[in-house]
């Protein structure tokens, strides 16, 4: 394929997919180690009613009201989960399950009852995203990458996703040490005077921002997969947290690129006519990587059972 075709049609979705995957995979590492990996799942579900409310209140499919609605829904969900956990004295996982299924269902009802048929706001879009449609019409080839006017016409999702990724990467670097200590040993972290509660809230908020931004661009299937699969596969490749983060980033990008290419061309190679959903294929590839890591990764044995020596 030539640059004339590749740059406008494939490059933006590839980049958006890769940055979405990265933005989710980085906080995913810490969520996984804190046994909170499903919070990404929860967030990507609860933002649906928020996004619909944002649309209903403003009447336009525009980013900021919907992002604000999503953020509001995420906060409502966090408060609800905490309240149910305290009042009902039940497991946080159970509280999470109750809240996110209920809010997602409410979002679906809202969508069905409201007049959103004219716009591209529907359950399918929420789940699978619309990666293939994020094209760059002004591009004419590789040269367009140097053309300021053409660059301005890149899909706004790309800029948003890059900004979110950069912010998350910088924050993770800045708070690496306290975040690591608080994740490994919360009690000890408190005696060091570290703001343990703020760190854990900050992590969930960062995950929520990544989820909302990625959800808007690529749908919730990728969000859920990228929070869990690349970090889980990376854990099986190394016994050091820094290396784990590197592996998870590599797996995230690999999933995004390979998934996008396979979705677009895989069926053609097999003799079928149509391409399949890129979001679904990216999530599938990340799952396959996890399976391969679980079978062949060098650190895959459960080391919790101490080896006697």
């Amino acid at each position: 394929m030539t640059g004339v075709e590749f740059v406008p049609l494939s490059l933006p979705p590839l980049l958006i997919g890769a940055f979405a995957a990265l933005a989710c995979a980085i906080p995913g590492n810490f969520l996984l180690l804190r046994r909170q990996a499903l919070i990404g799942d929860a967030i990507s579900h609860v933002v649906l009613p928020g996004i619909v409310m944002g649309f209903l209140l403003t009447g336009v499919v525009s980013t900021w009201p919907m992002m604000l609605g999503a953020a509001a829904a995420a906060i409502v969900a966090v408060v609800l989960i905490e309240t149910i956990r305290r009042l009902g004295r039940i497991e946080p996982g159970a509280a999470m399950g109750v809240v996110f299924t209920t809010l997602f269902a409410a979002g679906v009802l809202l969508l069905e009852q409201s007049d959103t048929s004219s716009v591209h706001l529907d359950v399918e879009h929420a789940l699978y995203g619309n990666l293939e449609s994020l094209i760059w019409l002004d591009a004419t080839g590789w040269k367009s990458l140097l053309d300021v006017e053409a660059l301005a016409a890149l899909p706004p999702e790309l800029f948003r996703m890059v900004a979110v990724f950069v912010a998350i990467a910088l924050l993770t670097g800045l708070f690496w040490r306290p975040l690591t200590i608080a994740t490994f040993d919360e009690g000890f972290a408190r005696t060091l005077g570290l703001p343990v509660t703020a760190l854990s809230l900050g992590l969930v908020i960062a995950a929520a921002i990544a989820a909302v931004a990625a959800f808007d661009a690529v749908g919730s299937i990728i969000v859920i997969a990228m929070f869990i699969c690349p970090p889980a596969a990376a854990r099986l490749m190394t016994n050091r947290l820094g290396h784990q983060l590197g592996w998870s980033a590599a797996f995230a990008v690999l999933s995004a690129v390979l998934g996008y290419v396979l979705a677009g061309y895989g069926p053609l190679w097999l003799g079928f006519e149509n391409a399949v959903s890129a979001a679904g294929m990216i999530a599938t590839v990340s799952g396959v990587i996890l399976v391969l890591a679980a079978m062949f990764g060098p650190c895959r044995h459960r080391v919790g059972a101490a080896q006697a020596d």
Partner: protein, 265 residues
């Protein structure tokens, strides 16, 4: 495996001004939901001594330490460390949690865990320099674990993990050391290594307070005991306080009488 049980301390330590009691608790009350855990507990631990917190399961021993350190929020109570409110003294307190309280499958090496004890020096972004590594290695050597610096922590035995936790506390160069069941489920070599390090800390003038389970070793290891069963039962020097009557009051019939007689002589 060969163990180096050297427990000498060649480390220079800063001189400190000594206040009355390095670790005092007043009216500490803690509850978990509706379940009361501690009722208005007063405790005063002496300086330059090894103290044991003793009581049956569910007596609130660990909770006492956690609440005193602000890990668990107390309903009421006041804690003074080194003559100051807890917050101002935290940088001179080292806490060794129960080994089972963390996930040892965490992706970290032994040296990474010990370096956590230097995090006040390292701050947010300072790089780990050779002298930080030297310090961490010295602490590992004091607990006989310097040969394991690059091991993943999950590959260690329980006793080795406990010694890594102690090395992390040593790296903090604190005045007060609070340990939650440091001898729980460890091998004999580890117990010997740990008690050697704790005694050398005491001989250096540090204050050591440990939640302790094994009544048989109390008189041998500890200078001072604090008996607790949701409220304070007794506290004082081991020889005066670790008596049959006090143990009976603490364990409320959960220990056989002849057991108590044997322990408390």
């Amino acid at each position: 495996m060969e163990l180096d049980l050297a427990t000498d301390n060649g480390q220079p330590r800063p001189e400190t001004t000594r206040d009355d009691s390095p670790f005092a608790i007043r009216g500490l009350t803690v509850s978990y939901g509706d379940k009361p855990a501690l009722f208005s507990v007063d405790a005063t631990f002496p300086a330059a001594a090894m103290s044991a917190i003793i009581g049956p399961n569910g007596a609130g021993k660990s909770t006492l330490l956690k609440a005193a350190l602000g890990i668990v929020k107390p309903v009421s109570g006041r804690v003074t460390m080194l003559g100051q409110p807890l917050k101002r003294a935290l940088d001179r307190v080292a806490y060794v949690p129960q080994r089972a309280s963390v996930d040892w499958d965490f992706p970290a090496r032994v040296i990474d865990v010990v370096l956590m004890g230097l995090s006040r020096e390292l701050g947010l972004l300072r790089r780990v320099r050779p002298h930080h590594l030297d310090k961490a290695m010295t602490c590992l050597a004091r607990v006989g674990m310097d040969g394991f610096a690059d091991r993943q922590i999950g590959q260690l035995s329980g006793g080795q993990q406990q010694r890594v936790f102690l090395a992390r506390a040593l790296a903090q160069q604190a005045e007060v050391y609070l340990l939650d069941e440091p001898f729980a489920g460890v091998d004999a070599a580890t117990e010997k290594a740990i008690i050697g390090v704790l005694k050398s800390l005491r001989d250096d003038g540090k204050t050591v307070v440990a939640v302790h389970h094994d009544l048989a070793t109390v008189t041998e290891y500890f200078d001072h005991v604090f008996l607790i069963n949701q409220t304070r039962i007794a506290e004082g020097p081991t020889v005066e306080t670790f008596t049959a009557a006090n143990l009976q009051a603490t364990y409320r019939g959960r220990l056989a009488l002849q057991q108590i007689d044997r322990l408390a002589g």
